[in-house]
């Protein structure tokens, strides 16, 4: 996580803190259930060693919290032959929906970075 700030919500009995790690977990699982996404890749290519598909939920998901807005960046690999725009769109919608549903905090931005295509077999 690039950012160790915690989401804070004051309630009469105390406070609720949600770490970006938890948010990235929700985003990770929501993304993998979206159609067309075949994996995550590391945010910077040096770490990722030639775009290896990673399985750790904190790789490839970047949650930024600047004290006001939550931004989520997703670095994904998409199945070759799908319409990238549509897939990215539905990933963005699904992630936003799931994170907002679980947290109850509006998400400012969900950015999708398509870092590669997986070619399962040639047409």
């Amino acid at each position: 996580m690039s950012n160790e700030n915690l989401q804070n919500e004051k309630i009469p009995l105390g406070s609720i803190k949600v770490s970006p790690n938890a948010i990235s977990n929700i985003a990770y699982h929501a993304t993998l259930e979206s159609y067309g996404v075949v994996g995550f890749t590391s945010k910077n290519l040096v770490n990722g060693l030639a775009q290896a598909i990673v399985k750790d939920p904190t790789y490839g998901v970047d949650v930024h919290y600047d004290g006001k807005d939550i931004d989520i960046d997703l670095y994904i690999i998409i199945e070759y032959g799908t319409r990238i725009k549509s897939v990215a769109h539905s990933v963005s919608n699904t992630v936003r929906y799931h994170v907002e549903k679980s947290l109850g905090i509006p998400i400012n931005e969900v950015n999708i970075h398509v870092r590669g295509l997986r070619i399962s077999n040639l047409d």
């Binding site: 993998l32 259930e33 979206s34 159609y35 067309g36 996404v37 075949v38 994996g39 199945e79 032959g81 799908t82 319409r83 549509s86 897939v87 769109h89 539905s90 919608n93 699904t94 929906y97 509006p106 400012n108 399962s120 047409d123």
Partner: protein, 558 residues
């Protein structure tokens, strides 16, 4: 798409193979049937996600596929299938559309450039379609269109050795699709909770069923009896007109003893009455029908004969009709389309009637909201985000919404200006200055200027005992506000209006517009307006239906 399509084979001969031209017709049939039933698929949405219009997305995807082949003279089946796949891919919309395009991609790939399709090829292609679709996701969710694709592929594999007849095969495949769709709630808990089947799977079923119906020569443009989820059943529209023979509305909830044979069920009901709708959820069916008086109890007797009746509701339509004419018209406004580069106005409106007035003046988007129902920043942004222009003006029409409107301006990348209208009349006055093609800054300035040219009066009731500006108010009393300031409390609405108008020096103005609220009947509003006209004979008094809550009247004096 409504042009009649001659049946491929009317007397259902066995077909052993089909070519590219036939595929072309089948695709058209699948698309037509899906479009006919689009709304059914749309109502099956579980998640309120923005891309949730599964039916529409699938229709658009299939439309793109059909557009690709409609002028093609290709006779080779495999090549035609590749064209379909290409079109579907290019036009894929939404999640379901993408999956559908993958199904076609796999289907086409299995066939290469096979000249004609036989049953064993069909089974092979369906299997490949399934495999391709499953490859597109790390964690396939069962109980979706993917499961339906899997089940039809399995069925096709089973029956290939049994029959060479394509019609036979397709029939079995369609049945398998239907069974699979009905089973989706068992696999996916969210579907079960919502009491619906999977929408994408249902869409796929309609495409295949459309093909089958076409081969059998059945109609494609008349929806079969619509079975919809209970939660989606809306009866509002059915009240608008009462035709002869629709004296009573009967609603019966019942649990059939055996599975319901829909065609027979509908057939029997059609003999009793009209406006038949059937909803389904959790094993319970809800029947809605309009019947003439002599048949009042027939639907109940009939459903009792086939199942257990759990609840019955009967309403007198003729009587309701008379009341309905009095109540507020909740029809949504039709906003004006906007072109790139033009100035678009988003207005926050506290009632359907007011929204319609704004729409008639040329706003491009309407956000519901007003006193005690302030819209969020996000609701405002969403209203204009998708408009095809960068120049946006927001009319908050309430002083409590100005902040949210300003926040919407902050978060948007578009060029947004907030014209701080504190009331509906101010917003309307500002709308008069809108020039869609004008210079953005000067239009905004003009509109801001117009705010001061109108006086706003509001008639509402006090929610608590209070004394402000020397005016004593008891809880529940009718009060009048002029430009946001409390000016008097009165025993009734009409007196409140009259003292409001005299305080506002309405005799020096030209036009008095009264927007009556949701709790004031049209006839009542009209008679009040008449009395006011009698007091202010030099002014024009207009009455508009506002449908706003809480406020008996909103008054514009200009």
């Amino acid at each position: 798409m409504t042009d009649p399509m001659p049946a491929l084979i009317s007397e259902a001969n066995p077909i052993k193979s089909i070519n590219g031209r036939m595929l072309q017709k089948l695709i058209k049939a699948g698309l037509t049937w899906l479009r006919t039933n689009q709304q059914i698929v749309n109502t099956l949405n579980v998640f309120p996600v923005p891309d949730g219009d599964t039916g529409t997305n699938m229709v658009l995807t299939m439309q793109a596929a059909y557009d690709e082949i409609k002028d093609s003279k290709e006779t080779n089946f495999g090549k035609m299938a590749h064209l379909v796949a290409h079109g579907a891919l290019m036009g894929a919309r939404g999640n379901s559309g993408v999956i559908l395009s993958q199904l076609w991609r796999g289907f086409a790939r299995a066939l290469d450039d096979l000249p004609v399709l036989e049953n064993n090829d069909f089974a092979r292609a369906l299997a490949e379609a399934r495999d391709t679709a499953y490859k597109g996701v790390v964690r396939p969710v069962e109980g979706t269109i993917l499961t339906v694709a899997k089940d039809i592929a399995a069925e096709a594999e089973l029956i290939t050795p049994v029959t060479e007849d394509f019609i036979d095969m397709l029939e079995r495949v369609v049945q398998a699709a239907d069974r699979s769709v009905q089973n989706t709630p068992a696999l996916l808990p969210v579907l079960k909770e919502a009491g619906v089947v999977d929408s994408g799977g249902k869409g796929l079923y309609f495409i295949l069923d459309g093909m089958l119906r076409y081969i059998k020569g059945q109609a494609l443009d008349i929806s079969i009896g619509t079975v919809q989820p209970l939660s989606e059943m809306v009866f509002l529209n059915t009240l608008e007109t009462v035709e002869p023979g629709q004296d009573y509305e009967v609603i019966v909830d019942f649990r059939p003893h055996n599975s319901l044979d829909l065609p027979v069920f509908y057939g029997t009901l059609e003999q009793m009455g009209t406006s038949i709708q059937v909803g389904e959820g959790e094993g319970i069916y809800r029947l809605h029908i309009h019947v003439p008086t002599p048949n009042l109890y027939s639907p109940i007797d009939y459903t009792r004969s086939i199942g257990t009746v759990t609840k019955v509701a009967i309403e007198n339509l003729v009587d309701q009709m008379e009341n309905k004419n009095q109540a507020c018209d909740e029809t949504q406004p039709i906003v004006s389309p906007i072109e790139p580069g033009q100035i678009a106005v988003v207005a926050v409106c506290p009632g359907a009637g007011i929204a319609r007035v704004f729409a008639s003046l040329g706003v491009s988007a309407v956000v519901d909201g007003g006193q005690s129902m302030n819209p969020s920043t996000q609701m405002i942004t969403q209203a204009f985000e998708n408009l095809p222009t960068d120049k946006i003006i927001i009319l908050p029409n309430n002083k409590n919404i100005i902040l949210a409107a300003n926040a919407a301006r902050e978060v948007s990348v578009k060029d947004v200006a907030v014209v701080p209208s504190k009331s509906v009349p101010q917003g309307l006055a500002a709308m008069m200055c809108l020039i869609p093609d004008g210079d953005f800054e000067s239009v905004v300035k003009e509109m801001e200027h117009a705010l001061a040219e109108v006086q706003t009066g509001e008639i509402t009731f006090a929610t608590r005992k209070v004394e402000i500006d020397g005016v004593q108010v008891e809880e529940g009393q009718i009060i009048a506000l002029l430009n946001g300031k409390l000016i008097c409390s009165c025993p009734n609405v009409e007196e409140a209006l009259l003292s409001l108008l005299s305080k506002a020096h309405a005799e020096q103005y030209e036009l008095i517009t009264l927007f009556h609220g949701a709790d004031i009947l049209k006839t009542e509003a009209a008679s009040i307006a008449e009395n006011i006209q009698a007091h202010f004979q030099d002014q024009v008094v207009e009455v508009q239906e506002g449908c706003q809550p809480h406020y008996h009247f909103i008054v514009a004096i200009e």
